[in-house]
Symmetry: none
Subunit: 212 residues, 4 copies
DNA sequence: CATGAATGAGGCTTCATTCAT
DNA sequence: GATGAATGAAGCCTCATTCAT
């Protein structure tokens, strides 16, 4: 219901009247360029570089995103989403829930090494979990986790948060080793996945912080 | 004889190195303050903030460290070393090689969460491995790895690089979760350690990059 | 056709170069102010002083001239050119080739006393002769030299380089005496010009360095 | 009389008691080093460089010369004197007054090219003529001028100031061309000297500023 | 007195953000 | 609306001068 209302804006056309013509095109160009630049150089880039690459002036950029932070957020939302989606797709093909999980990690980590700003901002995962893209990612993992647990393929007590944290920490590892030791992180993934299988002696320590 | 005299500095105070009583104190204050600030805020801090906190003027700071980079390097060296040493000490007490490894990680990761600049610069581990502190860390891990392998407690094929990368990636995880979910990373450590034990079905994939 | 439209800028103001009405004004103001300040105080001035006098912020100044050096160069180019041009104009009126030469020196040295930065940078004449203004100056002298030589009014063997060096060294003299002995340099000019006339006993020593 | 009193300081030994032992040696070392550095790099050098080369600490340096300017002045005084003296000596050998003049210029300009600070500070010649070294120089020229005039070898009306200004402006020329066109200035000297001989058509313009 | 460490004002430059055109 | 020029607060670093040892 609420969602529908959110989209029902046209009901009051005089209010938020928007000549979408090129404004939309501009906004997209900005986000596209920003994504490129942020992936390449991290969030410390000069805003000018983004404006230059997107072909718009600084004024236009700042009209759409009043603060640099706003733009960064928008891009992160988008790229987190894309990331989540492509990793999800890599997982759905597998019939075996364990293979789905493994494929997910493989895909997520492979396509991920390039994005500096995402890695930099993974910190937001728990600190500020309202970033929509992160929620999406979490939902994908949630499903994979549930499937594998149901099939008895996952070590008892493993939570979505565990899997998410694993993803993040391996993501960082990928970033670090991508240029000089590009195969190293795969081994770490193997090790971690094996640690996620059931059948280990000791149970995991409790997580008293877990909400709920 | 001359050598002995050379060490008896007080006898000939004008000779080579004046004691520079306060210079040493200042230099230490600078490094101390810088370590604090770098740990808190990462390497992007204003040099002025470091000067302010160490209680010296800009000139003094720049006399000891002609470039900001020099100071950062010095602090990183020091803190990597301290880190390595305290983690090593945590490991030597344990008779069981496996326990030594586990204790090492536990200690290393616990004392580590606070240091932003170190996390930022872990990237240098492979890219620029001449940072002395990193070498120290690597040597500690090397020994632990050898011990556990010799005792047959470590999964075949696990290398120092694997263990180092694990440390780094878990370190990052600690940093991210330290404030909001302080117990989460312990579970990941458990999982990873279990993945490092022998007895898993599939062997690790090869690491073609491994020098030698 | 397209070219014509391209020049009819107002027709398509968004096309290539927006007129940047004030940008041009600002740039000129900056150069103007810089010229003033450089003339007064030499190249060691604080950039802020230039910004202040031109009425723009630091950012604007650095947008137009990314390095202080760039601004200095621009001003020197401009002022050398102006200098060369006004001196040339002073020379063309004279029918007598010798008078042309004398008028040139007179004018060049008179309008020149004020400019500290130019004097400072005359050193570039030979060391870095690609400064456009210097080339212009040299070409003016070249022509005067050729004319006077052809008319047999110039001492045999006198080259453009000689005349240029004379200009420079007298320029320096002007600078030094301008405030306290404003008429002194004129006498030196007389003396030097007389030394340039033909009819002296000994020929000039050779210049083995002369290119070609 | 006054001079004698100035040297009679020892009459009141309790007043300006001075342990000359190494203080004098230090002062000399400073001046020596400063002269070197100033000649090489001009007056813009870092005071530290001078302290380093003279082997004394900053404190000592500043005890002898409370301002950088004081040290620079002292050096200039000294080097102007040396310069004047060596040029004078080059002149006294010649019996012919004209040759004396020519030798003087030749020697003065040859030994002079190296000294950046002197060239930079020639401006003081008229602006601040109390620099003792400059007075010395002037006296040398005065004598040469008088001799040549008396012998009828100098163009009528040429003054000490003319000759001094010529020296300065040629000095500047030497500096500029010394590295790239080391023979160029000699030609200019020839030209100027020829301009100084008697027998030219027009008399020199008057110098109404001439004191006295 | 000598030493050289300490001081801090001031210089150049960058960049997020605002504003005139 | 779009444009890109303008703004100015920081940021890094240097160096004449002072001061504790």
């Amino acid at each position: 219901m609420l969602d529908l209302m959110a989209e029902a804006e046209p009901l009051n056309p005089a209010r938020r009247r928007a000549p979408r013509a090129d404004a939309v095109r501009n906004r997209e160009a900005i986000v596209e360029a920003a994504a490129e630049v942020l992936a390449e150089q991290g969030a410390a880039v000069d805003v000018r570089e983004i404006a230059r690459r997107s072909g718009v002036g600084m004024g236009t950029l700042y009209r759409h995103f009043p603060k640099k932070e706003d733009l960064v957020r928008t891009v992160l939302r988008r790229d987190f989403s894309q990331w989540a989606e492509s990793a999800r797709l890599a997982a759905v093909d597998a019939e075996d829930p364990w293979a789905a999980l493994a494929d997910f990690y493989q895909q997520a980590l492979t396509g991920y090494a390039r994005h500096r700003a995402i890695v930099e901002n993974l910190a937001l995962t728990w600190a500020e979990p309202d970033l929509e893209g992160i929620q999406q990612l979490r939902r994908v993992i949630e499903r994979l986790c549930a499937r594998a647990t149901a099939a008895g393929l996952l070590r008892p007590g493993v939570t979505t948060d565990d899997l998410l944290l694993l993803l993040i920490s391996l993501g960082h590892a990928v970033q670090l080793t991508d240029e000089c030791r590009p195969h190293l992180w795969t081994r770490l993934l193997h090790i971690s996945l094996d640690g996620l299988r059931p059948g280990h002696r000791a149970p995991l320590p409790a997580d008293p912080d877990q909400p709920r």
